[in-house]
């Protein structure tokens, strides 16, 4: 816990994924709208070939940070490099190599999928093949259909297709699964992994914990315009809990001291009949042995695996908003 708070104070340079070359470098980014500071101090580096998550509640400054990073907005201070290029000075090159899917964009109802893709394809020097891209995205059968006849998931995939039609080296996807049903969301996740396998670096803006845990190699947690933590989802989750949790039903009553005195245990709580023990190290063994020595058997033992959601609550003191989030 103290380690997490200390990381919040200094710009985080988290472990860089293997393979090394930076695709996105953001340093000390700051952007204010009048008196409202949307992004206070954000720094992170995304390595080539990585799926990098930017996670935070609505209004945390995620979208503003990303819009600055891709050159849509000019930050007040801070430096940004995309594959070594400056998003403003090298605007044209950036647009060739960075594919962007912005939050909540729609397209004309009465254009066909193929017509839209052909149009966007013509913007790039070395575009992808429309047919192939539609195959990959599972939209091949929809090529001749009007945009308005597409389902939410299909529209989202078309939007991802437009971000990829220029064969970008970096793809930035903002809230790409918001509003999708669980099946469509899982399909989209598979698609993202598939795209990464083709060598594209992916920056994923999301407020879905499950999405970040499932897809991201590393995650930056953003709150109040700052990076409050940056690490792999698993490590963040472990840090947040400050250890593991064992939950069980004791066969006989016992005093809390029995477990609280163990070096591995940091906290003992009661939830009705159940006992919840938080700690570190060989927690389960220590608890079972101590109980056994007192003639108590632990039943219904659950090792609570902490997750990113816990990390988030711990670090920001709040739940992610419930807008469309999976329960």
């Amino acid at each position: 816990m103290p380690t997490l708070e200390s990381t919040a104070a200094v710009p985080v340079e988290a472990p860089v994924a293997i393979g090394g070359r930076p695709a996105v470098e953001v340093a000390h980014l700051r952007k204010a709208y009048g008196t409202l500071v949307a992004v206070d101090d954000v720094s992170f580096t995304v390595t080539e070939g990585e799926i990098f998550g930017i996670l935070g509640p609505n209004g945390a400054g995620k979208t503003t940070a990303v819009e600055c990073a891709i050159g849509l907005r000019r930050p007040d201070t801070g430096t940004i490099r995309l594959l070594g290029l400056d998003p403003h000075a090298d605007r044209e090159k950036i647009h060739e190599i960075v594919g962007v899917q912005l939050q909540s964009g729609a397209l004309p109802a009465k254009l066909r999928v193929g017509e839209i893709l052909e149009e966007y394809r013509s913007f790039y020097r070395d575009p992808a093949d429309v047919g192939e891209l539609l195959d990959v995205l599972g939209l091949a059968a929809k090529r001749g259909d009007y945009y308005r006849s597409l389902s939410g998931g299909q529209r989202q995939r078309l939007s991802v297709a437009l971000a990829l039609i220029g064969q970008p080296r970096i793809a930035v996807l903002d809230e790409m699964t918001t509003g999708l049903d669980p099946q469509a969301r899982r399909d989209t996740w598979e698609l993202i992994e598939h795209i990464r396998d083709r060598g594209v670096t992916i920056v994923l803006v999301t407020h879905f914990m499950e999405e970040a845990e499932r897809l991201c190699d590393r995650v930056a947690l953003i709150d109040h315009g700052r990076v409050v933590a940056l690490d792999t989802p698993a490590r963040l989750a472990a840090q947040a809990r400050g250890g593991k949790t064992v939950r069980f039903l004791p066969s006989a009553p016992f005093g809390d001291r029995l477990l609280a005195d163990l070096p591995e245990v940091s906290r003992v709580e009661r939830e009705g009949q159940h006992v919840v023990v938080t700690g570190t190290g060989e927690l389960v063994n220590a608890v079972i042995l101590a109980l056994h020595a007192s003639g108590v058997t632990a039943r219904d033992v659950q090792l609570d695996s902490s997750n990113l959601e816990d990390a988030f609550v711990k670090l920001t003191g709040k739940n992610l908003d419930s807008k469309g989030a999976p329960a």
């Binding site: 090159k93 647009h95 060739e96 190599i97 149009e119």
Partner: protein, 265 residues
């Protein structure tokens, strides 16, 4: 770092895109949308043609107006009908798609591609310009060929008048696109502006029949000036400078305001 960015910029192709092809594609899709949602085309071509035929068939419209140098009522209405079609187009047909592009986030999406979002505007102007020219030409040809309207005395004057009218009205349409927050509000603003504009064009009372005060006001409205310039080109010859200057002035003012207030997102 610098060596990395250097090697990368070397690896990237030159920043020249196949620009003409891209613009062609944007125009093509803009034209498809107009074709597939033909309401505005009906307003700016269909309605003027139908009015031309109806007025042309009415015997009372072929009487000379007493005291107006033998001007026939139908001939007085042809420029009004031309301008009506143009106004329907620029108040509704031009800003509608532009505002919906903004509403749908398409202008924003485009600003993340190598193509600037202003190209969507330009493409829309190109498509609507073709419709405008077609509408003006059809009304003219039908009125001359089928209903005995005079062949324009000054074709150059007519062309210039039409171009300046298109300039002023297109700039007004872009201003509507700049100010209207939603595609629905374009309809509201357009319909509201249409009535006074068309009144001074003479839709309900041709300019020749207006009292002097109204005629003076009409001279300084965009549509009044347009009707005056077109009518003069048809009836007498190259139009006087006044209506042409009024139209040019509106073009500049509306274009400046549209540029000043246009929001890309």
């Amino acid at each position: 770092m610098s060596s990395l960015s250097q090697s990368l910029s070397l690896a990237l192709p030159s920043p020249r895109t196949p620009r003409a092809a891209a613009f062609g594609q944007i125009v093509r899709n803009a034209a498809r949308l107009v074709w597939r949602q033909p309401t505005n085309m009906i307003g700016s071509i269909g309605l003027p043609v139908v009015l031309t035929i109806i007025f042309g068939e009415l015997p009372s419209f072929h009487q000379p107006l007493p005291g107006y140098g033998g001007l026939i009522l139908f001939d007085a209405y042809v420029p009004i009908i031309m301008v009506l079609g143009l106004t329907m187009l620029t108040l509704l047909g031009l800003p509608g798609p532009l505002v919906s592009y903004r509403e749908l986030g398409i202008l924003r999406r485009l600003s993340t591609t190598p193509v600037p979002p202003s190209w969507l505007l330009a493409a829309q102007v190109v498509v609507q310009l073709c419709i405008a020219l077609a509408g003006l030409a059809i009304v003219n040809i039908v009125s001359v060929a089928a209903f005995g309207a005079p062949v324009p005395k000054s074709l150059g004057g007519l062309a210039l008048s039409c171009l300046l009218a298109i300039g002023g009205l297109f700039a007004l349409g872009l201003l509507v696109a700049a100010l209207a927050p939603t595609a629905n509000s374009v309809n509201a603003i357009g319909r509201l502006a249409l009535i006074p504009l068309m009144f001074f064009a003479g839709l309900w009372l041709p300019r020749a029949l207006m009292p002097a005060v109204l005629q003076d006001i009409s001279n300084y409205t965009p549509l009044g000036a347009a009707v005056e310039a077109i009518q003069d080109s048809v009836q007498t010859g190259f139009p006087p400078a006044a209506p042409l200057l009024v139209l040019a002035g509106y073009t500049l003012v509306f274009a400046f305001l549209a540029r000043r207030f246009f929001r890309w997102e």
